[in-house]
Assembly symmetry: C2
């Protein structure tokens, strides 16, 4: 299992209704996730691919309102500070395996296979492989995958920018999250995804 703190923002007087619709849009996942909501975010604990499917469903629901909306999310796996009794660790099957080159190829294949949603999105994210000495090697391997990705936009200070359909975009985030095949690795991903911004029209 892995988890995320998901916050959805809608730049509209109707933000409560937009957020309630987005939460209804994740009901089909109810049996496969654990969730908890407070005033700042919704915690979702699930397998990595479910986590990103839930994120995409929340985001595309809000985007389809037509309002400028943003999903801000903090994904985490392998956090040694989490002592949630009975919580499983991420299974080997959920993670990429092999050399950095093999993992890049597997991630590209997964992104190419995913269906489009019709929702255009802009994204920036930072990936943090924590608690090992080779964290820049892992980041660089992941950036090599991203640079050739169909949704790569550019690097900017402290993060990487993506743009494109929300389908391949969220799959790209999922692949970045599982890129490090080490089951013990503590990896976090800090993500901002935006739709309908007046700055991009």
């Amino acid at each position: 299992m892995a988890g995320a703190q998901l916050s959805l923002y809608a730049m509209s007087d109707d933000f409560v209704a937009i957020i309630e619709s987005a939460i209804a849009a994740i009901e089909p996942f109810a049996g496969r996730i654990r969730r908890e909501t407070d005033d700042l975010s919704t915690l979702v604990v699930a397998e990595p691919h479910v986590l990103f499917a839930v994120s995409r469903a929340m985001f595309t629901s809000a985007a389809q309102s037509g309002s400028h909306c943003v999903l801000s999310a903090l994904y985490s796996r392998g956090c040694p500070g989490e002592s949630d009794a009975g919580r499983e660790t991420v299974s080997d099957q959920a993670l990429l395996s092999g050399t950095v080159e093999e993992r890049i190829q597997a991630a590209r294949t997964a992104v190419a296979a995913v269906a489009k949603t019709g929702v255009e999105a802009r994204c920036q994210f930072a990936l943090y492989p924590l608690g090992n000495g080779s964290h820049m090697d892992e980041i660089n391997g992941c950036i090599a995958f991203l640079r050739e990705s169909s949704v790569f936009d550019r690097t900017k200070n402290y993060c990487t920018k993506l743009r494109g359909d929300a389908g391949p975009l969220f799959e790209t985030l999922h692949q970045a999250f599982v890129f490090s095949g080490d089951v013990q690795a503590h990896v976090t991903l800090d993500v901002t995804v935006s739709a309908n911004s007046p700055s991009t029209r």
Copy 2:
């Protein structure tokens, strides 16, 4: 120098005007910061204490509109991937020094000395000291400071929650950011600060 990607969200049909006012509120800092805005965030490069003063000014301006608003920010120092020619590293003077215990005391003193703003805020954040083997020790030292802080609320999965006046709250974030006195340390801070949420009224 350190830097941040700052994104401000206002849950209002008037979000453009609220954000423009918040950007005007940081004009007094213009000579001490470098900034760049795109459709997702504003990059601010500055000394750490200026970075958090700018963040507080943007947030309190937006909060004073009365609308539900959120500042989402990614702070970074010492990132080895940043090759910004001529950019200085964080100075020793900007960081805390001494043992973990001495740094906890210095951070508490700084938070106690700061003026209140009259703006009530809720916050959650994650601190990542990257690229060294002792990252959980540093996180735990920082959590010890936070647990006794006047704005500490609770820990939750993957992050720590704060609540209180935006003055001591942003100073607490600043102290967490400079907590590691190592000038070479790569430290990032992922922050969400919220005001006027209907969930907390």
